[in-house]
Symmetry: C2
Subunit: 153 residues, 2 copies
């Protein structure tokens, strides 16, 4: 008889769902990376900063509670505390205490912040749709999915 090597654990095969999920993650990583790089180079702001400004700028009152902003960004409270601190340091936003609920804090966008966002949004939109089109060309199945979701026209 032949020697049997000390059998290493059999590893179950990777499912289609997991494989596809990996593709999705690599896609988002590439796109997010490109967005971050371009935004930083051309406008000197990060991705979270940009998106925070976007939410604040499109708020009817130009302000948002910290927790609201956290939810919209998919970050937690403490991250938003520091994010708003950075925006404040750059004069893109300031903190304002709620009169009615003294626990609450509003993040309010400044005109400077609004202007910076307006400039950057052109870059952001262009870069995003460009990147998505490119990804779509490289993977027709992805293109179909993105179109179905409204990210590609």
């Amino acid at each position: 008889m032949t020697h049997t090597a000390p059998t290493p654990t059999r590893v179950p095969p990777v499912s289609d769902a997991a494989t596809t999920w990996q593709r999705i993650l690599l896609l988002t990583a590439r796109v997010e990376n490109k967005l971050a790089t371009v935004l930083q180079r051309r406008h000197g702001i990060g991705l979270s900063e940009y998106r925070a400004l976007g939410h604040l700028a499109t708020s009817p009152t130009s302000e948002l509670r910290m927790q609201e902003l956290a939810d919209k960004l998919g970050l937690n409270q403490s991250s938003v505390t520091r994010l708003v601190a950075r925006l404040n340091a750059a004069d893109f936003a300031y903190r304002d205490l709620c009169a009615d609920d003294k626990r609450g804090v509003y993040a309010v966008i400044t005109d400077t912040g609004r202007a910076r966002y307006a400039e950057a949004s052109h870059t952001y939109e262009e870069t995003l749709s460009g990147a998505l089109e490119e990804e779509g060309r490289a993977d027709p199945r992805l293109a179909a999915a993105l179109t179905a979701m409204g990210a590609l026209s």
Copy 2:
């Protein structure tokens, strides 16, 4: 005539592509978070560790060059240096020098690592498909897109 407030910059509307992209990001954040939490709680390993083990385990030689691993994971080379160091500390992998190219380093999975991956993969696969189904139910357009890509059956 009426007073005109000091006109703040007009902010261009957010495109459909950007809105959809945000939905995709929030989706991936939720799913990745759930995966990370469950994997950490039930098996004591992080997401990057799990995926690295997966790539190593499914490699025909049970090993990968550092840079290869970085590409597959969507991380950069320095992150992988530290990732493999963590795997090494946990006895899930070890570093092996290439004989032919003395610059090169292989990350090699151990039987312990392979076993841990095999255990965790059940959890991972279940959690992933569960999360995707749930997301799909909450958003039919997303369900269609995920199905088109092969992530949902």
